[in-house]
C-alpha cells in the first residue's frame, strides 16, 4: 500500500534524517516505526503526506507517486493524527471532526452528521460534540484527533506518537480502542512511537530505526523479539524481550483441568462459580482469574503470584472453567519462543 524506494532526506542544515530507506507497508496492517528521538521515524511518516519532501527516491501510496499529486488533496485523502492532538481551539469538537469533509466540499449538514457518527465510533458522548477542545481531558482530545483523521474515511492513517502525552492508564485504553477500531475498519496504519511495548502491542510489523535515519530491521513483533537482527535491536527491545514475546501469545491453547483436591490452597468461588480468592487454613490471597484472550505473559505473572502455583481460568461471564499449572504455562512459554525462532 505504501512503498518507500531508496528514499533519502537531508535537511538544509546538513543532517541526514532518513538514509536510503526502502520499505513496504502492507495494506490493512499496522506498521509501527520505532527508534530513539532523532532517528528519522517522524520524518519518514511526514514524507508520506508530503509534510516533508524527500531529497531523493520515491514514495508511493496505493501505487501513485505522492510527489506527483497535489499536496493538499493528497493530505485530505490520508488521515493524520499528531501528539498534542492539534485540535483547532476556536472550533467545537464537532466542527473539528468535520474539517476534512468540509474541505472536500461535502456541505455543512452532511459533514456534521458524519462527525456526530464518528463521536460515537471513538467512544465519546454526543453532548461532547458541542464543547470546545480545551474543555476535554487529554485522552478525550486524542479521541477527537482520531475521529478527525477518520472523518473522510481515508484508507491510510498516519499517527505520530498519538498517545505520547497521556497517562499510562488512558494510553492503554486508547490502544485497546485503536485495536478494536482497526478490527472494524481495517485501515493501513503507520504509527510512530518510541515506546517498545506500545509497538509490540499495536504493530503487525515493526520497523526499528537507528540514529542517522537507518532502518535496521522490519519484521512482525514475534520475529523481532525472537530474532533481533543485531545488538542495537536487541538493546532497544530491552532485557525483558523474552517476556515481551509472551505478551503476543494468548492462553487459548494452554490446557486446563479441574482444581486438584486436598491441596494446601483451595480456590473459593461465589454461588455463581466466580473465583473469589485462594484460601489456606488461616490465610486468604486475592486471585486474578484469566480469560482465554489474556496473554501468556499475564498467565506467567499470575502463576508466580498465586500461592498454589495455579492460574484460575474463567469464561466470558467470569465463571470458573478450570485451572492451569505453572508447569503448563512454562512449557507453552518455551514453545512460543521455539516457534518464533523457526518461523519466517
Amino acid at each position: 500500500m505504501i512503498q518507500f524506494d531508496a528514499v533519502h532526506k537531508r535537511f538544509p542544515n546538513g543532517t541526514t534524517a532518513v538514509h536510503d530507506l526502502t520499505l513496504d507497508m502492507p495494506e490493512g496492517g499496522v506498521t509501527v516505526l520505532v527508534g530513539s528521538s532523532g532517528c528519522g521515524k517522524t520524518t519518514t511518516l511526514r514524507m508520506i503526506n508530503r509534510m516533508v519532501e524527500p531529497t531523493s527516491g520515491t514514495i508511493k501510496v496505493g501505487g501513485k507517486d505522492v510527489t506527483r499529486q497535489d499536496a493538499a488533496e493528497l493530505r485530505r485523502s490520508i488521515g493524520y493524527v499528531i501528539q498534542q492532538s492539534g485540535l483547532f481551539p476556536h472550533r467545537t469538537v464537532l466542527d473539528n471532526i468535520a474539517t476534512v469533509p468540509l474541505l472536500l466540499g461535502h456541505g455543512r449538514k452532511r459533514a456534521r452528521a458524519r462527525a456526530a457518527e464518528l463521536l460515537e465510533t471513538v467512544g465519546l458522548t454526543a453532548e461532547s460534540g458541542k464543547r470546545y477542545p480545551h474543555q476535554l481531558s487529554g485522552g478525550q482530545q486524542q479521541r477527537v484527533g482520531v475521529a478527525r483523521a477518520l472523518a473522510a474515511d481515508p484508507p491510510v492513517l498516519l499517527m505520530d506518537e498519538p498517545f505520547g502525552a497521556v497517562d499510562p492508564v488512558v494510553r492503554t485504553q486508547l490502544q485497546d480502542e485503536l485495536l478494536r477500531l482497526q478490527k472494524e475498519l481495517n485501515k493501513t496504519i503507520v504509527f510512530v512511537t518510541h515506546d517498545v511495548d506500545e509497538a509490540v502491542r499495536l504493530g503487525d510489523r515493526i520497523a526499528i530505526f537507528r540514529t542517522g535515519g537507518h532502518l535496521v530491521q522490519c519484521a512482525p513483533p514475534a520475529e523481532l523479539l525472537a530474532r533481533p537482527a543485531d545488538d542495537f535491536v536487541a538493546d532497544f527491545l530491552g532485557a525483558e524481550r523474552g517476556l515481551k514475546l509472551l505478551s503476543l501469545k494468548t492462553l487459548a491453547e494452554v490446557p486446563q483441568g479441574p482444581a486438584p483436591e486436598g491441596a494446601a490452597w483451595s480456590l473459593v468461588c461465589d454461588a455463581a462459580g466466580r473465583p473469589l480468592h485462594w484460601a489456606a487454613d488461616d490465610a486468604e490471597v486475592p486471585v486474578r482469574p484469566l480469560k482465554d484472550g489474556d496473554s501468556l505473559l499475564a498467565a506467567l505473572d499470575e502463576s508466580v503470584a498465586s500461592p498454589a502455583g495455579l492460574v484460575a481460568r474463567v469464561d466470558a461471564d467470569g465463571v470458573l472453567t478450570g485451572v492451569t499449572s505453572r508447569n503448563d504455562i512454562h512449557r507453552h512459554a518455551g514453545r512460543a519462543h521455539t516457534e518464533a525462532r523457526v518461523a519466517a
Binding site: N49, M51, A72, E73, L74, R75, R76, S77, Y80, I82, Q83, Q84, S85, G86, L87, F88, P89, H90, T99, V100, L103, Y132, H134, R148
Partner: protein, 220 residues
C-alpha cells in the same frame, strides 16, 4: 481652582454650547469621523501587512521595529511636513493619523499570528488545508483577540491625537483647544481636553467589553 472647575462644568452643560456648527455635538461628530476614517485606512494597510508577515514568517524585523518607529514618530511634525509639501487640506492630518495607527495594528497582528500554536498550524496543513485556508480558517480566527487589541489601541491613539486637525484649521474637538489657546480661554481649552480624554477612555472600555464578549469561549 474651584472657580475653574465650576466654569468648566457650566461650559460643558450649557445647552447652547452643544448646538450649532461650533457646538460640541458637531465637533464630536467631526472628531469621530476623522478618527474612524484614519483607523480604517490604517487597518486596510496594517492588517494585510501583519497577516502576511505572520503567515510567511518573512519580514518579521519590520513588524517588530515598526512598534518603536511608531512611538518615536513626531505627529505634529508630520502634519506640517505634508502640509508644506501638499498644501492645505485634510490630507496631512490623515497621513499623520494613519502613520500613527499602522504600527500598533501591524505589531499586534503579527504578535497574534506568532502566538498560534505550531502544532495547530501543522495539523491544519496535515488535514489538507491550502495556505489561504490555514490563514483564514485557523490563523486569523486564533489571532483575532490580539488583532482586535491592536485596532483598539490604534483607535484610542488616533482619537487622542486627532486634535491636530484643528492645528491646520479643520474641525474636531481640537478646535476648542487651539481656539482656547489663541483666545487665552482656559475653560475652553480644558473643556476640549476633557472631552477628548473622556471619549478615548469610553471607547477603550466599550471595545474591551466587546472583545471579552466575543472571545468568552477562549481560554486565557
Amino acid at each position: 481652582m474651584y472657580e475653574l472647575i465650576k466654569n468648566l462644568g457650566t461650559w460643558l452643560t450649557s445647552g447652547s454650547q452643544w448646538t450649532g456648527t461650533d457646538g460640541i455635538a458637531h465637533r464630536l461628530a467631526e472628531h469621530l469621523q476623522y478618527s474612524l476614517l484614519a483607523t480604517l485606512v490604517a487597518a486596510a494597510i496594517g492588517l494585510p501587512l501583519g497577516l502576511l508577515i505572520g503567515h510567511t514568517g518573512k519580514g518579521a524585523f519590520l513588524a517588530i521595529n515598526l512598534a518603536s518607529f511608531g512611538r518615536a514618530l513626531p505627529t505634529v511634525g508630520l502634519v506640517v511636513l505634508v502640509f508644506l509639501a501638499g498644501g492645505l487640506s485634510m490630507l496631512p492630518v490623515y497621513v499623520a493619523l494613519v502613520a500613527l495607527a499602522v504600527p500598533a495594528i501591524v505589531t499586534n497582528t503579527y504578535a497574534g499570528m506568532t502566538a498560534v500554536d505550531p502544532d495547530v498550524r501543522d495539523a491544519a496543513r496535515g488535514q489538507g488545508m491550502r495556505g489561504h485556508q490555514v490563514l483564514f480558517q485557523v490563523e486569523l480566527p486564533l489571532a483575532l483577540p490580539l488583532i482586535m487589541t491592536g485596532l483598539r489601541l490604534a483607535l484610542i491613539q488616533v482619537v487622542a491625537t486627532a486634535t491636530i486637525a484643528a492645528y491646520v484649521s479643520f474641525g474636531g474637538l481640537g478646535r476648542y483647544v487651539f481656539d482656547g489657546l489663541a483666545q487665552r480661554d482656559l475653560v475652553q481649552v480644558l473643556g476640549g481636553a476633557v472631552l477628548v480624554a473622556v471619549i478615548a477612555v469610553a471607547l477603550d472600555l466599550l471595545l474591551s467589553a466587546l472583545q471579552r464578549f466575543l472571545f468568552r469561549h477562549r481560554t486565557a
